[in-house]
C-alpha cells in the first residue's frame, strides 16, 4: 500500500512538473537566430548577431518578454552559406510551442532560397535592408518583409547623391560609374536599377564583379585604374570591403569618390585600413553608430548582469546597432499582432499580420529607446518595406560621421520595376496575387 502511495505521489509530482513545463512553454515565443560567427564573413556577422541576440535578452530582462510572453531563441551557424542557411531554417522552423516566429537570415542568398519555402511554411522572413528588391510587393511576396529599404532603394539613393554632387542628375551624362560588387545574388541586386538610371541620365555603368570571398581584387582595381571612373559604388560584404579599400589605396583611387551600400559601411570594413580609409563614404539607414537610451538599458539590464553576448565596448557600433534594430522590428511585429490575436505565443502566420500593420512612429521609437537611430516605419499588406530613407556617412579616420542630407528613393522609378519583377515571379511560380482589400475586410 505504501508503495502504491509513493508511486501515486511520484506520478503526481511528475504530472505537476509536466504541467508547469507546458504552462511555461505556452508563454514562450521562439525566435530562430541564423547567424555567422565563423568563416569569411564572421567579422560582419558577429556584431550583427550580438546586437540581435542582445535585444532579445533585453526584452526578457527589462520588460519580462513581449507583453509578458517570454522570448526564447536558438542560434544556428550558417557561415553565410546558402545550403547551411536552408539547413538551419529547416531545423528551427518547427521549434518552440508555436514554431518559428520569423526568420532574419542576414543573407540575400539564403533569402532567395527560403522565400519559396515560406509560402508553405507560413513563416515571415524579415530582410531589413537586403533580400529581394521586388519583395516589397506584399501581394506576391506574402511572407517577405524587406523593412526599411531594398538594394534598389540604396542604388537609387546613391545615384541621387552623386547627381547632387555633380550639380544635378543631368550632369551625370557622360560620367562613368563603376559598380564593384560581390558576385552573388546580393551584389547583383542593384544592377537592374543602376542600368535603368543609366538609361535615364546617360552615365556609363561599369560592372566589376568580385568573386567570393572578395580578397582577390588586384585585377579589378587595375581595371578601375585603367577606366578611371568618376565614382565607384561598392557592394561588398565581409572582408571584400576592407580589401576594396586597400586596393583603392594601392592604386591611388580617391576614397572620397567611393560610395558603399549600407552593408559596406561599418567599423570592420574600415578599421583594417585605418587612416587610409579616410574620406570613404557609405549609405547609412536604420541605425548609425552611437549610443542612446536602448544602449543604456542594454548595459544596465544585460551587460552589468554578465549576460552580454559580445564585448561591452562594441555596443553602439554600426552593425551591432543594426542587429538591435532588426530584432526590435521583429519584436514589434509580434507586439502588434498581440492586438489582434491576444497576448500569447503566436504562429508565424499571426505574426505576419503584425508585420503588415507595423506602425513604428516617432513616439514609439522614443519609447523603445531608439530615438536618433531610426526613422518611422509603417507597412501594409501591399507594401512590405515601408518608407526607405538613408543618409551618407563618411569615415574620418577614427569614426563614422553622418552627413546632413537625407535621401528617399524615387518611387516613380522603383514602383514599375517592382511591379514588373514581382509579376514575373508570380507567373513563374504560379502565385495568385493576394487581394489585400478583401483580406482587410
Amino acid at each position: 500500500m505504501k508503495a502504491k502511495i509513493a508511486m501515486l505521489a511520484v506520478s503526481a509530482a511528475i504530472a505537476a512538473i509536466g504541467s508547469t513545463t507546458v504552462l511555461a512553454q505556452a508563454k514562450e515565443q521562439f525566435f530562430p537566430v541564423l547567424s555567422y560567427r565563423t568563416g569569411a564573413y564572421a567579422p560582419n556577422g558577429i556584431p550583427f548577431a550580438n546586437g540581435y541576440v542582445d535585444y532579445l535578452k533585453l526584452v526578457n530582462a527589462r520588460d519580462g518578454g513581449i507583453d509578458g510572453v517570454k522570448i526564447t531563441f536558438e542560434e544556428c551557424e550558417t557561415g553565410y552559406a546558402t545550403d547551411k542557411g536552408v539547413e538551419c531554417y529547416e531545423r528551427l522552423k518547427g521549434k518552440g510551442p508555436t514554431g518559428a516566429t520569423l526568420f532574419q537570415p542576414l543573407s540575400t542568398g539564403i533569402t532567395f532560397a527560403v522565400t519559396d519555402k515560406s509560402f508553405a511554411d507560413k513563416i515571415p522572413i524579415i530582410t531589413a535592408g537586403y533580400g529581394r528588391a521586388d519583395s516589397v510587393d506584399g501581394t506576391v511576396f506574402g511572407w517577405n518583409f524587406p523593412l526599411g529599404g531594398t538594394y534598389w532603394d540604396a542604388a537609387d539613393m546613391l545615384v541621387q547623391h552623386v547627381g547632387k554632387k555633380e550639380g544635378g542628375l543631368d550632369k551625370l551624362k557622360g560620367k562613368k560609374i563603376a559598380l564593384v560588387y560581390h558576385d552573388s545574388p546580393y551584389g547583383k541586386e542593384p544592377i537592374a536599377l543602376l542600368q535603368e538610371r543609366a538609361k535615364m541620365h546617360g552615365y556609363e555603368l561599369l560592372l566589376l564583379p568580385v568573386t567570393h570571398p572578395g580578397v582577390e581584387q588586384k585585377a579589378t582595381w587595375l581595371q578601375i585604374r585603367q577606366q578611371r571612373p568618376d565614382y565607384v559604388f561598392l557592394w561588398g560584404w565581409g572582408v571584400m570591403n576592407s580589401t576594396s579599400l586597400k586596393e583603392a589605396v594601392a592604386t591611388g583611387y580617391p576614397r572620397e569618390k567611393m560610395y558603399g551600400v549600407w552593408w559596406s559601411g561599418a567599423e570592420p570594413d574600415v578599421a583594417p585600413v585605418g587612416e587610409a580609409a579616410k574620406g570613404y563614404n557609405a549609405l547609412v539607414f536604420l541605425a548609425p553608430a552611437g549610443q542612446g537610451q536602448v544602449h543604456k538599458d542594454m548595459i544596465k539590464y544585460v551587460y552589468d548582469k554578465g549576460q552580454g553576448t559580445g564585448k561591452k565596448e562594441e555596443i553602439g557600433e554600426v552593425l551591432y546597432n543594426r542587429g538591435l534594430v532588426s530584432a526590435m522590428m521583429g519584436v514589434e511585429g509580434v507586439r502588434r499582432a498581440h492586438i489582434k490575436y491576444g497576448k500569447k505565443p503566436l504562429t508565424g502566420e499571426q505574426v505576419r499580420w503584425g508585420l503588415e500593420n507595423l506602425a513604428i512612429d516617432k513616439a514609439a521609437i522614443k519609447k523603445l529607446g531608439f530615438d536618433g537611430f531610426m526613422l518611422p516605419v509603417s507597412t501594409s499588406c501591399v507594401n512590405h518595406s515601408g518608407e526607405s530613407t538613408a543618409s551618407i556617412h563618411t569615415w574620418d579616420g577614427k569614426k563614422w560621421v553622418v552627413g546632413p542630407d537625407h535621401y528617399a528613393s524615387d518611387q516613380q522609378i522603383l514602383k514599375p520595376m517592382i511591379r514588373a519583377s514581382a509579376e514575373k515571379y508570380a507567373t513563374e511560380k504560379k502565385i495568385t496575387r493576394r487581394d489585400c482589400a478583401k483580406e482587410a475586410g
Binding site: 566589376l208 585585377a219 585604374r225 589605396v249
Partner: protein, 333 residues
C-alpha cells in the same frame, strides 16, 4: 620534338596571349607593364606558399592540404600576439608555435600513418586543415586583424619619363615580393648547401635508403614541417599585412595548388616559375581577356582571376602530368 608538341603548343598559346594586348595596341604600354608587374608580385607570393607544399611533398610524399590553413594560423598568431607585444617578438613566438605544431602533426598524425596509402595521408592533412581553421578561430578570434609592417601603403609613380602617365607601383607589394624572393633564394641554398638540406633531399629521394645510412626519418619530418611552418609564417605575415588577417587567407593560399601542379610537386624551381606564370596569367586574363569575353559572349564578366589558374593547371595535367619541372613518374612492372 614530336612528344613535346602539346607542351610547346600550350606554351606558345600562353606566350601569344601574353604579348597580344601590347602587340595589337589594345593596352597602353604603361598600363600593360603595371598589370605585368602586379602579376609578378602576386606570383612571388603564390610561389612562397607553393614552396610549403613542395617542401613537404618532396620530403615525405605527403600532399599537405593544410598549408593554406597553416598560413592563416601563423598570421593569426602574429596578429593577435602583436597586439600584446612588439611585432618581432610576436613573430618569434609564432615561429615557436609553428614548430610545436609541426612536432604535434608529426607525432599525432603522420607517425601513426607511416606506410599508409598516399590518399590516407592526404585525408589526414584535410583533417588538419579543418582543425586548424576552426581551432585558429576559436583561439584567436574571427575578426579582421592587422599586421602593420610599417611599410607605406600609398603607391609611387616610376618611369614617368618612359611611359605616359608613369607606372604605378605599390611599395608594400614591392617589398613583399623582395622578401618572398629572398626567402625563396635562402630556401634553395638551405636545400643545396646545408647538411640538413641534403638529408631532406636524401629522404625525399628514398626513405628506406636514407634510414639505412642513419638519417632519422621522424626528425627530418619535424624539420620539414617546421620549415613549411616558417614559410607559412612569412606568407601569412606578408599577405596579412596586405589583405588583413582573416579567415579567407587560407583560401587565397590554396591558389598555390595550381602552382605546384603546373610547376611540379617535387620541384622548388617549379614552385617559383609556376607561381610567376599563374600570377601573371591570371592578372592578364582578368584585365585583358575578361572584357573581350564580355563583348563576344555577352557575359557579366569578372571572376576569371579565380578560375584561370585552375584551368591552366588542368591543361598542364593533360599535356604534362608531372608539371614543368617535376620528375617523371616511371613505374617498373
Amino acid at each position: 620534338m614530336s612528344k613535346h608538341w602539346p607542351v610547346l603548343t600550350l606554351g606558345a598559346v600562353l606566350l601569344v596571349g601574353l604579348v597580344l594586348p601590347i602587340a595589337t595596341g589594345a593596352s597602353p604600354p604603361g598600363f600593360y607593364v603595371e598589370v605585368l608587374l602586379g602579376g609578378l608580385m602576386a606570383g612571388v607570393l603564390y610561389s612562397l606558399v607553393a614552396l610549403g607544399f613542395a617542401l613537404i611533398f618532396k620530403a615525405s610524399g605527403v600532399f599537405n592540404f593544410a598549408q593554406g590553413s597553416m598560413v592563416l594560423f601563423a598570421a593569426l598568431a602574429v596578429a593577435r600576439l602583436g597586439e600584446q607585444m612588439p611585432l618581432w617578438v610576436a613573430m618569434l613566438l609564432a615561429m615557436v608555435i609553428m614548430v610545436a605544431l609541426a612536432w604535434l602533426i608529426e607525432r599525432l598524425v603522420l607517425r601513426p600513418l607511416v606506410n599508409q596509402e598516399g590518399v590516407a595521408l592526404l585525408m589526414a592533412t584535410l583533417g588538419v586543415t579543418y582543425f586548424l581553421d576552426g581551432f585558429g578561430q576559436t583561439l584567436w578570434g574571427s575578426g579582421i586583424y592587422k599586421i602593420d609592417l610599417g611599410i607605406a601603403k600609398e603607391p609611387v609613380m616610376i618611369l614617368d619619363q618612359v611611359f605616359q602617365g608613369g607606372i604605378l607601383v605599390n611599395k608594400e607589394d614591392f617589398v613583399a615580393a623582395l622578401v618572398a624572393a629572398g626567402l625563396v633564394a635562402s630556401l634553395v641554398l638551405f636545400f643545396q648547401k646545408t647538411s640538413t638540406g641534403r638529408a631532406l633531399r636524401a629522404v625525399a629521394d628514398d626513405h628506406q635508403a636514407a634510414q639505412s645510412i642513419g638519417i632519422p626519418l621522424n626528425y627530418i619530418w619535424v624539420i620539414v614541417w617546421s620549415v613549411a611552418g616558417f614559410v607559412a609564417l612569412v606568407a601569412g605575415v606578408i599577405w596579412g599585412s596586405q589583405l588583413g588577417v582573416q579567415f579567407s587567407l587560407s583560401q587565397v593560399a590554396l591558389k598555390a595548388l595550381p602552382v605546384v601542379i603546373l610547376g611540379g610537386f617535387t620541384s622548388i624551381a617549379g614552385a617559383i616559375v609556376g607561381g610567376l606564370i599563374i600570377g601573371v596569367g591570371e592578372k592578364m586574363a582578368e584585365v585583358f581577356l575578361g572584357p573581350v569575353m564580355v563583348k563576344v559572349f555577352d557575359l557579366a564578366g569578372g571572376g576569371i582571376e579565380n578560375w584561370f589558374a585552375y584551368v591552366l593547371a588542368l591543361l598542364f595535367l593533360l599535356v604534362r602530368p608531372e608539371g614543368l619541372f617535376g620528375e617523371k613518374n616511371i613505374d617498373r612492372v
